[in-house]
Amino acid sequence: MDVLLSDEEKMVASSAREFLEGECSTNLVREMESDPIGYPSELWKKAAEMGWTGMCLPEAYGGQELPLVYLGLVMQEVGRALAPLPLLSTVVTSMAILEGGSEDLKQELLPAVTAGDVVLTWAFSELDPRYQPETVNLSAKEQGDYFVLNGAKMFVDYFAASDYCLVVARTADASSVNAGLSLFLVDSKSDGISHSQLKTLAKDQQCEVVFNDVKVHKGRMLGALHGGWPLMLQLLDLATVLLCTQMLGATRMDAEMAIDHAKFREAFGQPIGAFQSIQHTCADMIISIDGGELLAYEALWKMDNGMPAQVEVSQAKAFCNEKCIAVVRNSQSIHGGIGFMMEFDLHLWYRRVTAWAMRLGTSYEHRERIAHALLDVPGKVVLGQPVPVV
């Protein structure tokens, strides 16, 4: 037991930070807010060369086979720099392909992911934004060697940039075993697909995607027919905890900006950082971020060690949702008026952290998942021992 970073982990984090400090300015971040695909392809290529896209993929597919904790450290730096990269959507989808794809599909796509040649994403949510299987209505009907998809998806990350999209479809009744869902890897440029950009607080890439008689070959199904939900849950848990690390990186940067500001901004003949009201606020901000990091990395560590981590993922996200928002809000408050001027950079972090907190499970959803595990399963709970997963 040693919850501090090892030398190797520190190196991965610091080289990622150095790289992004050199390559990703806030000018670039601003530029991408109005870009049709929302990411610079040169930076994406370089990120792949840094090994980020294939970090946790097996060496057989060109990856480095590193633990997920390392990916968390990189995502933290991506969040810190607000790097406009489809990294989260690509790596998480690639892990699902690794888990549930045919060998042919893995050979075709995973080396391309590692090389930075493809962008991947996934589509789960529809009108009802909860992460529950019964919210999925998009249908997939078998037709010979193909499935035909009809329906619409919401909040699809980086869809406009994507080459392939993992689509969660209903193939059987919601009351059936495993909730009757199947997963298909669809070519994003297939006939019958149309998309429109949603305008978000973060000014990032979120699409509504409509599927109108979209044909996808059977070989592009991930996992078993009607058996997609467990795999999707895994994907969602990984995406959620990685989003936490991304949020935490951004939030820590935002807090550091406020602390630096407080050290030089003067009022009443003092740097405002000498006042206890400011000092105590800053102390609470750092304590919150530290707490979030510990929760998120424990979840990733458990995944790396093959342990159930659903409760841990929910702990991290529910905590980060509320604490990260509180930190960036306090940071705005410490900055005063300049903090919400368009020309000043702080809002870039504020708008993203708040928007990210709304995705991949609200505080209420995650806390209900924890409450269910704590209260609805017989047997005593002991802090520090795993809570039974249901």
Partner: protein
């Protein structure tokens, strides 16, 4: 990063659980309770007098298993083991009300600043709980601002003569020794004229008077966060001690003291104090209801239970972080202070939340008809906030996070506007 325990550590925990099941019987607990009652009323049960035959036998068994002072070096009576294992031992025993933890014992400071002779004399006895220190820091006008302390030690050849008063000296009525912070150079700056002395409580001129806390009558049930019914004032009237009682160098007591305080904060006891109620309420809700209606079905309560559970995990993880820093032999920057803000405040939040789940039943004290879990939640309402006051208040801790961790500036004197 490694959040797991080794196979040996996991086995150690299982051994402890088995040991506790076999040896910590209701009779043992009853004997401990009776001894504490007696101690509080007489205030004269020093030198192990508070251990009855059953408890003495239990401590003998704990010693035989090598669980005392697990991470302390063998030459000082410890086992030379790792800090994490020591924490496992402390945690499991404390869960059943047996505190063999060395946090708050003065042992970490003696280990860090003591002479070889002091280490060999004190540590083996502290480790086996044969000696116990009262911590003589706070005074009537020096609490949060500890460096304002006035208790005076005047050198007289190779002796010191002490006059003054200490307050809120929690364990003075059963301690064998005192760990005293006193002013040795009134002309030096506030922090530079302080020294630490360690000497027996029965030294002539030292008297102890009880201060009764709000937990007195009825006694708080075992496991309450700060359920102590008694604290004390300690008076020093021409108390004469030899200079060999100095811990660390003369006039350098501030550094020794604050380092000791930081190390004393690490461990199972503060962690458990803050999170025990989270376990209690979940387990209570699972198997109890009010006449058929279970609060566990109320969505608002479920949400709150989960929120508090997450906060409790942060307490646990911050304890592990402090432990990792100690284990690496490192110094705290702000991490110990951060834990000392988060955990006590969580303890308060969760206690308040739980009493709102229980409604008026939450107010029933130990011994009352219908008391929930022996009234532990009502007693915690009187105890949890104390955790945010003593050993460095949460406000002082936030100062330290800001100053040491974030390097934020100090106030300047107001300048005249020209």
């Amino acid at each position: 990063m490694d959040f797991g325990f080794t196979a040996e550590q996991q086995k150690l925990r299982q051994d402890l659980l088995d040991f506790i099941k076999q040896n910590v019987t209701a009779e043992v607990i009853a004997e401990m309770d009776a001894a504490e009652d007696e101690m509080e009323s007489s205030g004269q049960s020093r030198q192990l007098g508070h251990r009855g035959p059953l408890v003495s036998a239990l401590f003998k068994k704990i010693e035989e298993r090598g669980w005392f002072g697990y991470s302390y070096p063998k030459e000082y009576g410890g086992q030379g083991g790792d800090r994490v294992s020591q924490n496992i031992i402390e945690e499991e025993l404390l869960r059943v009300g047996i505190n063999i933890g060395l946090a708050g014992s003065g042992a970490p400071a003696i280990m860090a600043a003591g002479t070889e002779e002091q280490k060999r004399y004190y540590l083996p006895k502290l480790i086996k709980m044969e000696y116990y220190f009262a911590l003589g820091f706070t005074e009537p006008h020096a609490g949060a601002d500890l460096a304002a302390l006035k208790c005076r030690a005047i050198r007289d050849g190779d002796h010191f003569v002490i006059n003054g008063q200490k307050m809120y000296t929690t364990s003075a009525h059963f301690a064998t020794h005192i760990y005293l912070m006193a002013r040795t150079d009134p002309d030096a700056s506030r922090h530079d004229g302080i020294s630490i002395f360690i000497f027996p409580m029965d030294t002539p001129g030292l008297t102890v008077r009880p201060l009764w806390t709000i937990q007195n009558n009825p006694r708080a049930p075992r496991g309450t966060c700060y359920g102590d019914a008694r604290s004390n004032e300690v008076f020093f009237e021409d108390v004469r001690i030899h200079e060999s009682c100095l811990l660390g160098k003369e006039n350098q007591g501030w550094r020794v003291g604050s380092m000791g305080l930081n190390l004393d904060r690490v461990g199972a006891s503060r962690y458990l104090r803050s999170v025990r109620r989270d376990e209690d309420i979940v387990n209570w809700l699972k198997s109890n209801d009010f006449g058929g209606h279970s609060p566990a079905h109320n969505p608002a309560i479920r949400d709150k239970v989960a929120e508090m559970w997450i906060e409790a995990q942060v307490c646990r993880l911050m304890t592990l972080r402090s432990m990792s820093i100690v284990e690496r032999g490192g110094q705290f920057s702000y991490e110990g202070s951060a834990e000392k803000v988060w955990s006590p405040e969580h303890g308060v939040r969760t206690t308040e939340a739980i009493t709102q789940m229980l409604g008026p039943y939450g107010s029933l004290l130990n011994g009352s008809p219908y008391a929930v879990e022996k009234g532990v939640f009502a007693h915690n309402t009187m105890g949890a906030f104390q955790s945010g006051i003593n050993h460095g208040s949460v406000q002082i801790m936030r100062d330290q996070v800001a100053k040491r961790g974030l390097e934020m500036p100090s106030l300047r004197r107001a300048q005249k506007v020209k």
